[in-house]
Amino acid sequence: MIVAEQKPLDEIKGLIAEAEKVLVLGCGTCVTVCFAGGEKEAGILATSLRMASKIDGQPKDVTHTTVQRQCEWEYLDAVADQIREADIVVSVGCGIGVQAVVERFPEVWVVPGLNTSFMGLPTEQGVWEERCAACGSCILGLTGGICPIARCAKQLLNGPCGGSQNGVCEISKELPCAWQLIYDRLKSQNRLHLITQIQPPKDWSKSRDGGPRRITREDLRLAAEASE
């Protein structure tokens, strides 16, 4: 899932300073599951903004609503009236949600209420960890299913570096060394030969470095759109 966390309230207050009628727009998918921007969190943010603006002497009209998925326009259309009525929309979806609202409602001013952090999973309740960097050319098959791009601080393909000690990374004793994990797993599977070969330089053009990425599936496009 996409994992995010709410921006500090002060920063959001700054973003909406000019507006009177504010809509906090939650998203019912990833950011609901990571407790950053679902129905409950949209409610908490709306309440907090109402209280803060009242204390500051300029009470704002802050409401909130949540859609199933901000990143699909069909769901946004269902709350189009609320979006258009607001002076400003604070999207507490991920960065994709914010931009989906912007693209669907170009006339509306939209600001982010979250910092979109990473793609990961909950390793225990209340703890999320990054697992994928969307590098565009997956090598998990070589590394025992443990990603050095997402989990090594230096994205090494021929690790571990000299800073690996007692299973943890040189940058933090809280951070497991990804290459120690890879080594342990391959050893337990009797597959260490997978990492004795030199892994060649990565093709970063498949990653963000190649510019914004796009996937087109002609078989899925609607005929009318495809012919455009």
Binding site: M51, K54, D56
Partner: protein, 172 residues
């Protein structure tokens, strides 16, 4: 002054009842809301209490290690800490909410905690959210000077109530 006391059914709520039976007085500002367990405490609900004019919130659960539902009171403690962060960001003092732990036999302690919370809240003055909007719509029973500065001075002595808490108006 108005303080919402989220009280666990298995301990604090019973302790408040016991305080009433024992004729122990505690400040009339306390408005008890019974919860099945403080683990039921909801951050948004607490924020709504503040938004609607509560000057303070006390959360009273079982003694640590004695939760009827094992760890609900420990979860509540974390949520109280979270509410402290949230209301601080909003512009309220974090001391407007506190967590207390007690057993159903501790009627005296309940009254003491109620006084402590009332004094702590009084020292902070009325909630700016209430001051900004004048009187809140939902007033408590008794002439406890809601929205006035009198209690804000720290004088909480004379305004007490002796009725068993269970008979109070419930605010949910």
């Amino acid at each position: 002054m108005q303080i919402v006391a989220y009280s666990c059914h298995y301990c604090a709520y019973a302790a408040a009842d016991l305080a009433g039976v024992l004729r122990l007085s505690y400040p009339a500002a306390i408005r008890i809301v019974e919860v099945p367990c403080t683990g039921r405490l909801d951050v948004l609900e607490v924020l709504h209490a503040f938004e609607h004019g509560a000057d303070g919130v006390m959360v009273a659960g079982c003694l640590e290690g004695d939760c009827h539902f094992q760890a609900g009171n420990l979860n509540a403690r974390r949520r109280v800490a979270r509410v402290k962060e949230l209301i601080t960001a909003v512009g309220l003092e974090p001391e407007r909410i506190e967590m207390f732990n007690l057993s159903s036999a501790m009627g005296r302690q309940f009254a003491d905690y109620a006084v402590k919370m009332t004094q702590q809240t009084a020292s902070l003055g009325p909630s700016p959210l209430r001051a900004a909007s004048g009187r809140v719509s939902r007033t408590g029973a008794g002439g406890d000077g809601l929205g006035t500065r009198r209690e804000g001075s720290g004088d909480v002595g004379p305004s007490t109530q002796k009725t068993p808490a269970a008979h109070q108006e419930r605010q949910r």
